[in-house]
């Protein structure tokens, strides 16, 4: 791993203009309040938090899908905010995304070949024949046979759709893959297949990952570094093993204690602890 971070996020602020009356009469709603972190080449970095914590917004800011109100994001030393509305293809090539819901992230009216092939053509200017060959290779990489390219998303199972979404993301040969809840729409038995696939791809292609997830159990399996978000800020960040074994922030402890464990033994004790931690967090003004 190189010292130079692949992605640098500094004091990032993202706000949504003219919030509804819910957020105090036209005041902008600040979703991300000055967040900083680095992702090294080939590193697995995870943002965990609950809905509304701002974790997905950070991913969208890095992808240029929402505008940034303050701070800086740089990829490979290049400032992303400087691009404005027109993000160069070179950056697009390097940073790709896998969204949560493959039902929504694949166009239902287009075949798998079109969905993946158009990305290949856009970035590498391939001929129809070359494109087809590449799409076949990409499908093979995610464990799908090449005849899948003639199917529509509606003909695939949830796990197969997510494999297609990963293949599309790999089509540009990216260096950073943002995975926004990549397995939370999948069944348990399919979820582990996708997580193993992502691990294989990381090993084989040297990809860095930004995992965005609410699922602490999943994050533990994939991340080297974990940042816990709460109300738009990172409350705790550290090496994954250390953070899970020794959570220092009260919110992290409560979060971890809330995860249901598939082990009925000791559930009464767990419950008592959970209630106590909840009280502690509610009492502390910081949370």
């Amino acid at each position: 791993m190189s010292r130079q971070p692949l992605l640098e996020v500094r004091d990032l602020v993202v706000s949504y203009g003219k919030g509804s009356a819910l957020f105090g009469g036209g005041e902008p709603f600040v979703a991300v309040k000055g967040v900083s972190f680095d992702i090294a080449v080939g590193e697995g970095f995870a943002l965990v938090g609950e809905s509304g914590s701002g974790k997905s917004t950070i991913g969208r800011a890095i992808l240029g899908l929402v505008s940034v109100a303050g701070g800086a994001i740089s990829f490979d030393g290049q400032d992303i905010a400087a691009f404005g509305r027109h993000i160069p293809l070179s950056f697009r090539r390097n940073v790709q995304v896998v969204f949560q819901d493959p039902r929504s992230s694949l166009n239902p009216r287009r075949t798998i070949r079109d969905t993946i092939g158009q990305v290949v053509e856009r970035h590498f200017g391939t001929s129809a024949k070359e494109t087809e060959a590449r799409v076949g290779d990409l499908l093979a990489k995610v464990g799908l046979a090449s005849y899948f390219m003639h199917r529509y998303p509606g003909e695939l199972s949830g796990g197969q759709r997510q494999r297609v979404a990963i293949a599309r993301a790999l089509a540009t040969e990216p260096r950073l893959l943002i995975c926004d809840e990549p397995v939370s729409a999948l069944d348990v038995s399919t979820q582990s297949q996708i997580l193993n696939l992502l691990a294989d791809l990381r090993r084989d292609l040297g990809l860095a990952y930004l995992f965005i997830s609410h699922d602490l159990a999943v994050v533990r399996q994939v991340a080297d570094v974990v940042a816990v978000m709460h109300h738009g800020s990172i409350v705790e960040m550290g090496a994954s093993e250390e953070l899970y074994r020794n959570p220092s922030h009260a919110y992290t402890r409560m979060l971890l204690s809330s995860v249901p464990k598939p082990d009925p033994e000791g559930r009464e004790e767990r419950r008592a602890m959970r209630v106590a931690l909840r009280k502690a967090v509610n009492a502390s003004p910081a949370a």
Partner: protein, 647 residues
């Protein structure tokens, strides 16, 4: 990459067998409807008449034989002749050509202009969108006929000028529609994915968004074709629009008007032609709309189940063993097969379980396992066109599977209550939470307004909604997901049910809120001695809350037992596979154990053990025939397998 490769074959197992393109499906739906088929045939007929007008018309439409003035229908003039002796049939035929041409021209022009602009402003949003919307507001505040008059006054009469005037009116409408559709589609992640992939805007608009919006736009365009004919004939009738040399239905009507007193018949052929054309386009548009809507899944609706003959069983239904509150026996739910005459699909097969007094029973399985269907069938809520075809559901001396809808309705909410995953959707957005919670109390319990209100506050307090007294005046959208689920629990409890069915009640919630809601459910269950049937896909949730568990796979129960036993010493390989594949936050594994493939759809369920294709312990005999449920599990090898879960 080798691992990924080995999963290939298995990952394909769940692929749908049939290949039906969306377009073909819509056509099939449309042709299944007689009125729509007739309308499509009518439109084809009009187009053919328009194209072959010179061959079909017996005379030149402008040839006037003065001797034949005002002749009625005869063998010489099938539809008679007009005031200067021109053949009416020939004029109707040539008029068809004018009507078809001008309407298609104006609608095509409107589509070409309105749709791209609408898509673009909807997609870009912001200032572009606001500007475009103000322009359309101005346009739509001018009556369209007056606008057409003005435009024709400027441009002069003529076919193209008229078509243009109509096209502009329609373009504004289509722009609005396209904009609304683009606003909707823009929210889908495939649009974001295309942006991230670096696709140019035109590509996103026309290759990604447009294909998903054609349906409603085509429906609108079909109806507009009819309206175009109306407007254009109206303009000609008023002596505006088409110039005098063009044969068209509107000017025929106008001429007929001059002889109305003496020859009223003259108005009949053009009038009928206009009615026919407009009706055909409207029927076709409506049919298209229905066909497009038909693709969406059927709504959930209460439905008569089980064969009528078995209704007698409702009374005879039997004595339950003491601890059981509900006993489900041999339940089978079937859906009709896709094609006519196809075998019905069995969605639930021989489902038997019982819910005991004061227990929390977990019903666990992945999507497609039939767990939600089992819960819905308890309340007679199997979505149409599915039905319970055999089995019984014994509750309080009755067989719910054979009970008429009216009696079921009395049980729902009062004796058996249900909460769902999407709790906010269960509330009406236009009434306050307080009103909605009070309603069942007033109807079922006959409480007065003040009493009901006090009880609602009590209930909300009970489920832990803070400041209940103030929050009863809030609307559902003002509640967070967790609070809405608490309110829906309060609603479920309001009539003191004996049984609570909870279908994935915490799946949509954050993990901390999930823990709180589950803890709350546990408290309430103990406090009111309710029986809770908790449907979930999460074995962690089962372990934290349930006393017993039923595991379902592909429409069957595969294992049943006390939670402590099933989760530490599972007897069915599927339960074991689920347990080992569930990631745990307290352990990091280098490689997660996987279950190859995915749950097969009902039409692909194996004849023998349904888990066999994915099972690591399968033997040849597993595939030979249906596996019976024996000793709490449905596995031939249960006796020999030692499936210990390592922690």
């Amino acid at each position: 990459m080798s691992e990924a490769g080995t999963e290939t074959v298995a990952a394909e197992a769940g692929a749908a067998p049939e290949k039906v393109t969306p377009g073909r499906l819509v056509l099939r739906h449309m042709l299944g409807h007689r009125a729509t088929t007739a309308a499509l045939a009518g439109i084809v007929l009009m187009i053919l008449v328009a194209i072959f007008a010179p061959l079909l018309a017996p005379y030149d439409p402008n040839y006037a034989n003065v001797l034949h003035r005002h002749q009625g229908p005869s063998w010489v003039h099938l539809l008679g002749a007009d005031g200067i002796g021109r053949d009416t049939l020939s004029r109707i035929i040539y008029g068809t050509r004018t009507a078809v041409w001008t309407s298609f021209e104006s609608v095509a022009l409107a589509l070409v202009v309105g749709v791209p602009i609408g898509l673009l402003v909807g997609f870009l949003g912001g200032w572009w969108d606001r500007l475009a919307m103000r322009v359309t507001d101005i346009f739509q505040s001018i009556p369209s006929l007056i606008f057409a008059f003005a435009l024709i006054a400027v441009l002069g009469r003529g076919t193209n000028q008229t078509a243009l005037a109509v096209a502009i009116v329609f373009a504004v409408i289509l722009m609005r529609i396209a904009r609304a559709l683009a606003l909707r589609e823009r929210e889908f992640l495939y649009v974001d994915a295309a942006r991230v992939a670096g696709m140019p805007t035109w590509h996103i608009l026309f290759r990604e968004i447009l294909p998903n919006t054609v349906g409603p736009i085509i429906v609108e365009a079909a109806i507009m074709l009819g309206s175009a004919i109306m407007i254009i004939t109206m303009l000609s009738f008023l002596g505006l629009g088409l110039d005098a040399t063009v044969v068209d239905w509107g000017s025929m009507l106008d001429e007929a008007r001059n002889y109305q007193a003496t020859h009223p018949y003259l108005a009949l052929p053009p009038g009928l032609a206009i009615i026919f054309a407009v009706l055909m386009f409207n029927f076709a548009g409506d049919g298209l709309r229905d066909a497009l809507a038909g693709k969406q899944s059927a709504r959930r609706a209460p439905r008569r189940r089980k064969k009528p003959g078995s209704a007698a069983g409702a009374v005879a239904a039997a004595e339950l063993p003491a601890p059981d509150v509900i006993a489900v026996r041999g339940l089978k739910v079937e859906f009709p097969g896709g094609e006519a005459g196809a075998k019905p699909l069995e969605i639930l097969s021989d489902v038997s379980f019982s819910l005991r007094r004061g227990e929390t029973l977990g019903l666990v399985g992945e999507s497609g396992s039939g767990k939600s269907m089992s819960a819905l069938s308890l309340l007679g809520l199997v979505p149409t066109p599915g039905e319970v075809t055999s089995g019984e559901i014994l509750f309080g001396g009755r067989d719910l599977a054979a009970l008429p809808e009216a009696e079921l309705a009395a049980i729902r909410g009062r004796e058996i209550a249900m909460i769902f995953q999407d709790s906010i959707a269960g509330f009406s957005p236009v009434h306050t939470i307080g009103e909605q919670l009070a309603e069942p109390l007033r109807i079922h319990k006959g409480l007065g307004e003040a009493e009901a209100k006090a009880r609602v506050v009590e209930l909300l307090d009970l489920v832990g909604v803070p400041n209940a007294r103030e929050r009863i005046d809030d609307y559902p959208h003002q509640f967070s997901g967790g609070m809405a689920q608490r309110a829906s629990i309060a609603m479920a409890l309001s009539c003191g049910p004996r049984v609570l069915l909870a279908d994935e009640p915490t799946t949509a919630l954050d993990v901390t809120i999930q823990a709180q809601v589950l803890d709350l459910l546990g408290d309430l269950q103990r406090r009111f001695d309710m029986s809770v049937l908790l449907i979930t896909h999460d074995l962690g949730v089962v372990a934290e809350t349930c006393d017993r568990v039923v595991v379902m796979y592909a429409g069957q129960i595969v294992e049943e037992g006390a939670v402590a036993d099933v989760l530490s010493r599972p007897r069915h390989p599927y339960t074991y596979a689920l347990l080992t594949a569930t990631p745990r936050e307290d352990v990091r594994m280098d490689r997660l154990p996987t279950v190859p493939g995915s749950v097969p759809p009902p039409w692909a369920w194996p004849r023998g053990c349904r888990f066999m294709p994915r099972c690591a312990f399968a033997r040849a005999e597993c595939g030979q025939g249906p596996v019976p449920f024996v000793g709490g599990t449905r596995c031939l090898r249960a006796g020999e397998l030692q499936l210990e879960v390592v922690r």
